[in-house]
């Protein structure tokens, strides 16, 4: 198949998540080497995903943890 800009738009999420058949990768990458519309689109989309994936997993605050365990232990003892 010939990959077009519209296909890139639809397949981008699967492409970045490595969920496509391998032959499609080559075609997409060939398209991305020279398409002036898709290059900035894909770069910024990819960076957005990286930013989302960089959002930190936070620790449970001490007081929240304590409150949870106090409540649960009280409930379990019933």
């Amino acid at each position: 198949m010939v990959v077009r800009c519209k296909d890139i738009f639809e397949l981008l999420s699967d492409y970045l998540d490595e969920e496509l058949e391998s032959d499609l990768y080559t075609e997409i990458e060939e398209h991305l080497e020279e398409c002036p519309h898709c290059i900035p689109f894909v770069n910024t989309y990819r960076r957005t995903v990286t930013l989302c994936q960089s959002i930190e997993i936070i620790e449970v605050p001490g007081e929240v943890h304590l409150k949870l365990w106090q409540t649960l232990r009280k409930e379990i003892r019933k």
Binding site: E18, E21, T44, C52, E56, L72
Partner: protein, 204 residues
């Protein structure tokens, strides 16, 4: 055009055999086993609740209610889904009920017209991907990201949190939300486009 999409699930599963053993022990009145389950999932559930509500106090309430509900309902857990899937469902239901009570909100689809291939690919958006400020360490950008995440409709935000922040697979998310894998992918794609749009405005 129909593409043959391979559903490879490369990420590590969130369930484990030991959950099943722990559940059996809880059912046999071994409460220390329940404490082990809480320890294992406390952080994941807190993070889910915090990212859904944006408030530590609400996340704390959701965390407590989730484990209380799980403790009291464990007798009904038949193992048809993984324990983690079942627990995430409880937490999501509690969180979304809480939010809807507060805001009276129902399903709000992202306006799909905003994100057509034609629209997105012809927009004059600068390629900010190599901008040194496009880093999570950039406090202002992180604030925009968090605020934009909060402004996403719940159905999209939930998928984005579970997939991109918590690192679950499409299959796991589809089981938690009881929607198809293509629906998970579609919501994730729209959510990512929505965020990209907002971040692009910051760099414009």
């Amino acid at each position: 055009m129909i593409f043959n999409i391979k559903m490879s699930e490369k990420r590590e599963g969130i369930a484990s055999v030991s959950d099943e053993i722990l559940i059996e022990k809880v059912k046999s009145s071994d409460n220390s086993a329940f404490e082990k389950l809480v320890k294992k999932y406390e952080k994941k559930i807190y993070n889910l609740a915090f990212r859904l509500t944006g408030k530590s106090e609400d996340a704390s309430d959701i965390l407590q209610e989730t484990f209380l509900k799980a403790y009291h309902s464990l007798g009904d857990f038949r193992g048809e889904a993984n324990f983690s899937t079942w627990l995430y469902r409880i937490a999501l239901n509690i969180a979304l009920m809480k939010k809807r009570k507060e805001k009276g909100k129902i399903f709000e689809p992202i306006e799909s017209k905003l994100f057509t291939p034609e629209g997105e690919l012809t927009k004059e958006i600068p390629d900010w991907s190599n901008n040194p400020e496009a880093e999570i360490e950039n406090k202002e950008l992180r604030k925009i990201l968090t605020e934009t995440l909060s402004s996403l409709p719940d159905d999209y935000r939930t998928v984005l949190i579970l997939r991109d922040i918590q690192g679950l697979s499409n299959k796991e998310v589809s089981e938690i939300l009881k929607i198809s894998i293509p629906a998970v992918k579609s919501r994730l794609h729209r959510a990512r486009l929505f965020l990209r749009d907002r971040i692009s405005k910051y760099f414009a």
